[in-house]
Symmetry: C2
Subunit: 189 residues, 2 copies
């Protein structure tokens, strides 16, 4: 059994388990729908905290191994307390992580052993939008740049192909480039 | 001095400092451009780690009070190690945090004392896109829902107005609803 287990794990990805997941989703696509959620609580000023504990997926309610906390704050130069990354930086982190998680899976499926994967994600933003000083500049990022450095036991084309496929199937890249309908409701008092 | 300081701080927001920031950006809009960045490192499988330490803004290189780390992983039900939130959940956290940070500033400027601000952000995703099983469903979220509960010393309309203005000026809401151009480059070996 340990031989089988060792054979199916590459780059830390259990490919046998990944293929089983793919088969399960193929067999029951309706049951495969996911709903992710975060619960945010304001702390003080621009400082707040997200808790991430449960989600719906694979036909059932699911619970993470622990309650994950992700805080955010504005930096001192924007009159914040700088107790945590900015929300804009969390967005860039979500993008870097989504591409890298996908790349890990794709490399394992393609039988490429990764040595290292590093990326830097930069985003440009003109704060006049966010600060309410201009209606002509957008609030969000005008441009995001991603730079990957990938090392592994495959040709340069194959390594580049990992990033291409990670981009082609990234949930966060898709959301950021394609836009998502967002509804907002408010309860008061 | 302590009286002045106490008077200018509301909800943990130093409004005098916030107005000074607004004036500085108004005076030198070109110098106010921001560039945020994250550095991501693959750990194993779908598990990876973002470090957030420096950014450019207000005309100079800036350094956060500390190096912030944000990890991500896929959940066990998607054959991941569940060592951290999923990238999709980080995206929802970025949205919740951006709206809540903005709301904190806006309430302070409008002289509304907040008692509590809570929000839940949910996003629906069909994993057949991400898993490469369908070209007909999108990779990203089909829909995101935000629900705020706001308590403070203002009328229900004024409290609802805080959320409306936070949405109107949110960098992450703007990026997610409007889309952002993203470039990707790869270095190998």
């Amino acid at each position: 059994m340990s031989t089988v287990a060792a054979r199916s794990v590459r780059n830390g990805v259990d490919t046998a388990r990944l293929f089983a997941t793919l088969d399960a989703v193929k067999a029951q696509p309706e049951a495969a729908r996911f709903r992710f959620a975060v619960d945010n609580r304001w702390i003080s000023g621009t400082h707040n905290r997200n808790e991430i504990s449960t989600f719906f997926g694979a036909g059932a309610g699911q619970r993470h191994a622990e309650v994950f906390a992700v805080e955010a704050d504005h930096p001192a130069v924007l009159a914040g307390g700088d107790a945590a990354p900015t929300p804009a930086e969390l967005l860039l982190a979500a993008l870097a992580s989504c591409l890298t998680s996908g790349l890990g899976n794709i490399a394992a499926v393609r039988k490429i052993n990764l040595e290292s994967v590093r990326s830097r994600v930069e985003g440009d933003i003109d704060p006049r939008g966010v600060l309410g000083l201009s209606d002509e500049v957008r609030n969000g990022f005008s441009q995001i740049r991603v730079s990957f450095t990938v090392r592994g036991d495959a040709s340069p084309d194959q390594l580049r192909g990992l990033v291409e496929q990670a981009v082609a199937r990234s949930a966060v890249y898709d959301a950021l480039t394609g836009g998502v309908p967002i509804s907002v409701d408010v309860t008061v008092g």
